[in-house]
Each structure stands twice: as structure tokens, then as C-alpha cells.
């Protein structure tokens, strides 16, 4: 069977807050990733992952397990302490993109990745119109023709089911669900090969959650974009992801097919997590 090449993959990614000491460098099983001797926080520790074309990889874990930090590291919101990450479309997957120049990071953020944050304030400029928010991403990727950018913004807003007459409205006057949808349209504006989604439905009421998830699923199907979805909600992971990684204390403790993780969890923490399902 021919092996697919991943769209994005990472090796030994570590994000550490503090210098570390002999104790925590040799003990990987720190409670909550915190060293009891030097108080260094190992937010992400030695994480390997692969995301294949058109696939949704879910990341679950309790608060503070490092799942959002991993996503933010890949999107350059957070500096990695060590490790490597690659994109198949960036220098044919031969250059570790975690250590590139600021200019290259901007290029990668605008062309190769889209990010949807839990808090829309992080992904949107609330005082710009929703159209301008999308245009900002298009300009960053080299767009200059105002007419084309307006057309593309209308097309994207239509795609995420926001009435096009709201093009000139600021996202601050939108509901939480609408803000998330504008964020999604901004994130996919340049059709990146990978989309990073960080707890995108947390804080939304159930019916709005369902709409956002349906939208993400339809985008994934239509555009075939690979996705990395972080959530603490196993129902979201069950519905969305093909494979799942379980994180605890900054480390990946279990990974596998989503149905295997949910029906035959092998690690103690995963068993606790699954048994907590209502």
C-alpha cells in the first residue's frame, strides 16, 4: 500500500517556560508538566505528529495539557524551545519551519495555514468591518485588486452563511457564532492546505455549536483542507476527527483511530477521560 505523505508533521516539539533542571530533564512524567524542584513548566514535551491530506486530526486533553500551546507554536504565536515542524508544500517538506525568519513566518501564516481561535478577539480586528478582516488576509497574501477582494469577501461570507449585506459591519456587533464564522472565512480566505482550530465551539450555545461544526465539516469536504482540531469536548472529536491524539502534562499519552481511542482506550488517562463522557 502506498504511503501518503503528510501535509504537516512535527518532531520532538518542546515548549518550556523556565530553564529546567537535572530533575525535570530526566523525569518526563511531571504532574501537570510542572517541575516540583525548579518550577519550570513543560507546556509541550517531545511531541511528534503527522497530519495527512484531507484528514482531521483531533487533539484532546484537560486544561493545561498543552494542546493549545502546540497549535499556537505551529502558528508562531508561541516560540518553540526545541523541535522541528515541516509542511509538505514548504520547500518540499525539507525545511524546519519553526526556525525560519519573521518574513517567512508571515508568508507561512498567510499562505500555508489558517487559524481559528477560541476567542474571536484574537483572530479578528473588531473595529474593522468583516469584509476588511477578510481583505486583510488577502492583502497579506499579495492581493491588490479592491474589486476582486470585495468579491472574494462576499463569496466567503456567503460560504459561511453570513448575509452579504453584513459585509461592512464590524464583527464586534455580531453574535459569538457569527464571529466564529467570520474567523473561519478569514482563515480559509487563501485556501491554505491546513487549518488549525483551537476550541472553536467552546462557549457557544448548543445550536450555534452545531452550526459551526457543520460548517467546518462541509468546508473540509468541499475544499479537502487538512485540519488540526483542539477540543476538550469528546463529542466534538468523535464527530469531526479521523485520528485523535490525547495529551496530558504536555505529552502525547495515546494516539490512534478516533473510534479506537473512544471505544478501547489503552492509557489510564484516556480511560478516565472516556469514562467521564455523560
Amino acid at each position: 500500500m502506498e504511503r501518503k505523505k503528510p501535509v504537516m508533521w512535527g518532531r520532538h516539539i518542546t515548549v518550556r517556560f523556565g530553564e529546567g533542571c537535572d530533575y525535570c530533564r530526566t523525569h518526563t512524567n511531571l504532574e501537570k508538566g510542572r517541575c516540583p524542584k525548579c518550577h519550570t513548566i513543560w507546556a509541550v514535551r517531545d511531541v511528534d505528529f503527522q497530519v495527512y491530506p484531507g484528514e482531521i486530526l483531533g487533539i484532546v486533553g484537560e486544561s493545561g495539557s498543552g494542546k493549545s500551546t502546540l497549535l499556537k507554536t505551529l502558528y508562531f504565536d508561541q516560540q518553540a524551545t526545541s523541535g522541528e515542524a515541516y509542511l509538505s508544500l514548504y520547500h518540499e517538506g525539507k525545511e524546519n519551519f519553526l526556525n525560519v525568519s519573521s518574513q517567512q513566518k508571515r508568508y507561512l501564516r498567510n499562505h500555508m495555514m489558517g487559524m481559528v481561535y477560541q476567542n474571536p478577539m484574537l483572530g479578528l480586528r473588531m473595529k474593522l468591518s468583516s469584509g476588511a478582516n477578510i481583505a486583510e488576509k488577502l492583502i497579506a497574501a499579495g492581493g491588490r485588486d479592491a474589486g476582486r477582494m470585495i468579491d472574494r469577501s462576499i463569496e466567503l461570507l456567503h460560504h459561511v452563511e453570513i448575509p452579504t449585506e453584513r459585509l461592512r459591519d464590524q464583527p464586534r456587533v455580531f453574535s459569538g457564532g457569527m464571529q466564529q464564522r467570520v474567523q473561519i472565512s478569514k482563515a480559509i480566505a487563501n485556501t491554505p492546505p491546513i487549518l488549525l482550530l483551537d476550541e472553536v465551539t467552546t462557549g457557544l450555545d448548543l445550536s450555534v455549536q452545531a452550526k459551526v461544526l457543520d460548517l467546518i465539516r462541509s468546508i473540509q469536504k468541499e475544499l479537502g483542507i487538512a485540519m488540526l482540531i483542539v477540543s476538550h469536548d469528546l463529542a466534538v472529536i468523535r464527530m469531526m476527527s479521523d485520528r485523535t491524539m490525547v495529551m496530558l502534562g504536555g505529552r502525547v499519552v495515546e494516539e490512534g483511530l478516533t473510534d479506537q481511542i473512544l471505544e478501547d482506550p489503552l492509557h489510564e488517562y484516556t480511560q478516565t477521560l472516556v469514562s467521564s463522557l455523560l
Partner: protein, 248 residues
Amino acid sequence: MLQIQDLSKNFIMHIRSDAEIHGFDHISFTAEAGKLIAITGPSGCGKSSLLKCIYRTYTPTSGDVYYTCADGSVVNLAKAEPWEIIALREKEIGYVSQFFSVIPRVSALDILISTQTARGVEAGKAKERACEYLEKVGIGKNLWDMYPSTFSGGEKQRLNIANALITKPRLLLLDEPTASLDASSKEWVMNMILDLKREGTAMVGVFHDEIAIRTLADWRYEMRERKIVPTDYKMDYAEQVLAEAAGF
């Protein structure tokens, strides 16, 4: 096509003081193209766990599951990487679960269409075949655009079966496919399974229903005390045809 060797499954419940639950031990058998292996046995003896280990919803504790792919390569499903399992599930291996977990807010018709389009079938053709299968399993036209969460147990199960069969998998795992069906639905489903057998699909199924076993199975194995016991049962093709002609 499928060779199971010394397959065992135990569950270690770390959250219950590492309690060990025995699934099944040292199971071996083979399944050939166009043949159906029926697994029988009392509830809780590990039949469904065996199917889930083949489909890799469960990770086997030990043993091997060799599957010969359409391209002739052999994959050990017990130890394969998740990407290999996903690719095989997409293209070659189908599974009819005992309980259909419906995809929320997707209509019955769209479920069958997307199952096919995900495997590269053109949208128009996929819709045509989806309608044909919905009709075959007796789901009324008024339900085609409805969400299956509103369906009865039998309707959900018929949709589940149609969804697994529509892709004509090379290997099909069936977990009590006829359990919640009325007599006429059962007949439709059994006919569809027989059609698929004729087209060369290898099948392993868990059954309680004697009529289904006698109609569909080529070989029958019984699970007793976590082990598989080969029976001398082998249904002959002529007997099958007679059973079919007699309306089961």
C-alpha cells in the same frame, strides 16, 4: 483474503485497579472471497469484540490479522498504522455495526451519497445509486431527506446496512445485521448480502438468527469460553439455492 492467526484480546481497566477483562483467546480462521463465515455463541462471549479487532476499533492484545488488499499487498490489520486502516476502511473494508451511530444533521440520502463521493464516485451517479439502495432496503421516499436521528431502530439499521453495502467492499464485517429487522426487511437485507457474496466479497458475521445463518453462511464457528470452536457445519451451495427459492 483474510487470515486470522492466534488473535487474543484482553481489556486492562487501569481506572478499576488494573482489572483484566478477558475478551477472547487464540482465535484462528480464514475467510475467502465470496464466502461468509458465521460466528455464533452466547451473548458476552466475545463475538463483537472479535469483529472490532478485525476492523481495529479495538487493538488486539496479540496475534495477527492478515488481509490481502486489492493490489495484492498483504497488511497485518492487527499492527497496521492508523493511516493504513483509514485507507482500507475508505476503499475496501466495510462494517455493519449492531447500533448505527448516525451522523447528526445529515439526511439519509446525503449519508449514502457522501459515502460514495468520498470514494471517488461522481455526484450524479452517487445520487442515483443512493436512491436505488434506499428503495432496496425499503426506506420510504418521505424519509430520504430526513435526519436518521428521527428514524426507528429498524429504519436506522436498514440505512446502516445500505451504507455499508453501497460501496461493495471486498471484506465486510457484519455484527448482527438482521437483529432488529422485521421479516420483509430481513429478506431484503439477506438478498443484498447474497448478491454481494456472488460478487466476491468475503464476509465475517456475528449472528443469532438461525434462518440468516442457514441462508447466508458457508462456514459456521461457535465461540465458547473465549475460544472459537469449528463446527462441522458447511452449507452447500445447492442447499443455499433451495433455501433462497423457498423464501428462506
